[in-house]
């Protein structure tokens, strides 16, 4: 006879889980009681949001399902932002929450919330377990949906009496999904049509999103793009999918994308989208997005098609299937000479990549920092100006090497996510880049970093403002800096010291020289090569802005490159 809690742990072990992140509390105590000897390592964070972001970091860097645990009521509701984040960014995540006793459900019992209802619109699948017999099926089905198709978040809510109940355990369950008419795959005639469109195109481009990484089709995509040799750019989640050294690669596209990428996207007559949602940060004004283009959209999730702009040719399916099939057709066909178009589209990009052209000190700092990272590294960016600067300067060809909260834009993501990444990749240099606002949203996870001795390298880009909001206030609200002033920030180096983490400080004045002085270079090298966790505060100008910028509601061709006088 096993307790329900023991059955839960046996079932998640059977799903390949050996690491979970969480925070205990009343209703989930039976599960914590059963952890010892279960083969599942539990990472205690200092807040449930820290746990769910850490589980996301683990999932994003490995492609495996991340697991977070929390108790009922506030424990469960503290997971909600992470669940929403996983939904937006297609992260495989299973949240196991304790619930009040079955008999108390619906009575507004102590620490009771309807977490099933609260998360219904944010989850891909969820289950309130009603009997101990349901546990194996719920775990098997939950993990199946979390990792299948377009990955996403799952919630399994288990009342405490069910975790304590006992029964004979006959082993983990297997879930077999039902089939349905919509699961059809692309056929050959369809691929012929795309090839025909390509042959007629004079200015084709390719846009790469997160789907390229999630599908595991990176090599297939790179081979296809090498053969097509058309101007190519990436969303923030597509960074690293295409080697930046590729002569046809134009960098990031969208609101803070490169001039070359946004210009090519505006001028193209055939846009091939590989695993991107085409959200508003990528399209700008959807009515003026790629105005002359036909769109071929390779996408696994039909719900993402035609959301903001109709596409002419949707290709529904896993990129691991559709790209090789499409590539086979491309190889058989002869393609036009697009060299003139490529030369025009790519001409400006090389200058944008040159660090000597970087006037912005924070960008220059990040460029310097990234260039000194060891080969095996992962960068986790929080949300705000530093995120966009980091994305603009990211030059690695590691598909899972740049991690950030893209769709939801959840400040406070980076530090706990870095915990999950470092645990998944103990020998990798993990660099966490935050702003002063976002860092303070989950600053308590410094305790987790210290307790586990994780050698995370943490950078705070400190402009003493909620920088991105302030930038918008400057540009669109007549400099009315309402409630974005953080000039009363604490001394982050002292805070780190309180958590027994060594701190460093660097002022942006050090970045004026190019190349940087030996002293500055040594400081960055020492920061990166120290064996334990380290925190570096980069003090930068309060009113620095991220450019290029496509103002909200504008077309991609209406980029702004500098502050108006």
């Amino acid at each position: 006879m096993l307790k329900g809690a023991e059955i839960v742990l046996r079932c998640i072990r059977a799903e390949g889980v050996d690491l979970v992140f969480g925070y205990p509390g009343g209703a989930i105590m039976p599960l914590y009681d059963a952890l010892d000897g279960s083969g599942v390592r539990h990472i205690l964070t200092r807040h449930e949001q820290g746990a769910v972001f850490a589980a996301e970091g683990y999932a994003r860097v490995t492609g495996k399902v991340g697991v977070a645990m929390a108790t009922s009521g506030p424990g469960a509701t503290n997971l909600v932002t992470g669940i929403a984040d996983a939904k937006m960014d297609s992260v495989p995540l299973v949240c196991i929450t304790g619930q009040v006793r079955t008999a108390m459900i619906g009575t507004d019992a102590f620490q009771e919330t309807d977490v099933f209802g609260v998360t219904l619109s944010l989850t891909k699948w969820s289950r309130l377990v009603r009997t101990i017999d349901e546990i194996p099926d719920a775990i098997a089905e939950g993990f199946y949906w979390a990792r299948s198709g377009r990955p996403g978040p799952v919630v399994i809510d288990i009342p405490t009496d069910i975790l304590k109940a006992k029964k004979e355990f006959s082993g983990p369950a297997k879930f077999k999904p039902h089939s349905r008419p919509a699961d059809a795959k692309a056929d050959g005639a369809f691929r012929d049509t795309i090839v025909g469109l390509l042959q007629r195109a004079t200015r084709p481009v390719a846009l790469v999103g997160a789907g390229a990484k999630l599908s595991g089709a990176i090599q297939e995509l790179r081979r296809l793009l090498d053969d097509l040799n058309v101007p190519t750019f990436a969303t923030v989640h597509g960074l690293g999918a295409v080697p930046p050294q590729s002569p046809y690669y134009l960098g990031m596209v969208g609101m803070h994308g490169t001039r070359a990428a946004n210009t090519a996207l505006h001028e193209t007559d055939l846009l091939m989208v590989f695993g991107a949602r085409l959200d508003d940060r990528v399209t700008g004004d959807p009515t003026r997005f790629a105005p002359n283009a036909k769109i071929v959209h390779f996408e696994i999730d039909p719900a993402q098609l035609d959301r903001v702009r109709a596409c002419e040719l949707p290709v529904i399916g896993n990129l691991a299937d559709t790209i090789p099939a499409f590539h086979a057709e491309v190889r058989k066909a002869s393609m036009p000479d697009w060299s003139n178009w490529r030369a025009v589209a790519c001409g400006a990009e090389r200058a944008e990549l040159d660090p000597r052209g970087l006037a912005q000190p924070t960008m220059r700092f990040l460029d310097e920092l990234f260039s000194r990272l060891p080969q095996d590294n992962v960068i986790i960016a929080d949300v705000g100006q530093h995120q966009m600067w980091a994305a603009q300067r990211y030059r690695s060809s590691s598909p899972r090497g740049f991690i950030t909260s893209g769709g939801l834009g959840a400040m406070g993501f980076a530090l706990p996510a870095a915990v999950g990444v470092q645990l998944a990749k103990p020998d990798t240099c993990v660099l966490c880049v935050s702003g002063d606002g976002g860092f303070q949203m989950n600053i308590q996870e410094l305790a987790t970093v210290h307790r586990l001795g994780l050698p995370i390298k943490m950078v705070i880009v400190d402009n003493k403002y909620l920088g991105m909001v302030r930038q918008w206030q400057q540009l669109f609200y007549e400099r009315n800096y309402a409630e974005t002033d953080l000039s009363d920030n604490p001394d982050f180096v002292e805070i780190a010291k309180a958590y027994k983490i060594h701190g460093w400080r660097l002022n942006e004045a050090a970045m004026v020289e190019f190349p940087v002085s030996a002293e500055t270079g040594d400081l960055i090298d020492n920061f990166l090569s120290s064996p334990g966790p380290e925190l570096l505060v980069f003090d930068c100008a309060p009113e620095a802005n991220v450019y290029p910028m496509v103002p909200a509601g504008a077309a991609l061709s209406e980029m702004v490159f500098e502050d108006a006088e």
Binding site: F116, G117, L120, S121, K124, W125, S126, R127, L128, W145, R150, P177, H178, R180, P181, A182, A184, K185, A186, D187, A189, F190, D192, T193, G196, L197, K294, D301, P302, A303, Q304, L305, D306, R307, A310, C311, E312, L313, P314, V315, I316
Partner: protein, 104 residues
């Protein structure tokens, strides 16, 4: 006015997920009726929607893992008895794509 007929597995929350796709868009839900339908369940809804929303709803419902099939048709009056046909949104059927390409 558009009538939607959605067949689904009656797993926990599926009907609420179907309705949520409507409520998150603040659409006028004139009527809704759910019942068992053979081994599955079905919900019939009358909604005031534009053509773009029809496609969005169709695809969002299909993204719900327990939804089996979605059909719809336009009606002039609420009293009209629906005669169901496959809904033809832009991205529904791979098999129709060459036709769409020819029209593009």
């Amino acid at each position: 006015m558009q009538v939607f007929h959605i067949r689904y597995r009656n797993a926990q929350g599926t009907l609420m997920r179907i309705l949520n796709a409507v409520s998150r868009r603040a659409l006028e839900l004139t009527s809704v009726h759910a019942e068992g339908s053979g081994q599955d369940y079905a919900v019939t809804m009358l909604l005031e929607v534009n053509p773009k929303q029809i496609g969005q709803l169709y695809r969002e419902w299909y993204a719900i893992v327990d939804v089996i099939e979605v059909r719809s048709r336009a009606v002039l009056h609420e009293q009209e008895v629906p005669a169901w046909g496959p809904h033809p949104p832009a991205s529904e059927s791979i098999a129709e794509q060459p036709t769409r390409a020819a029209l593009a």
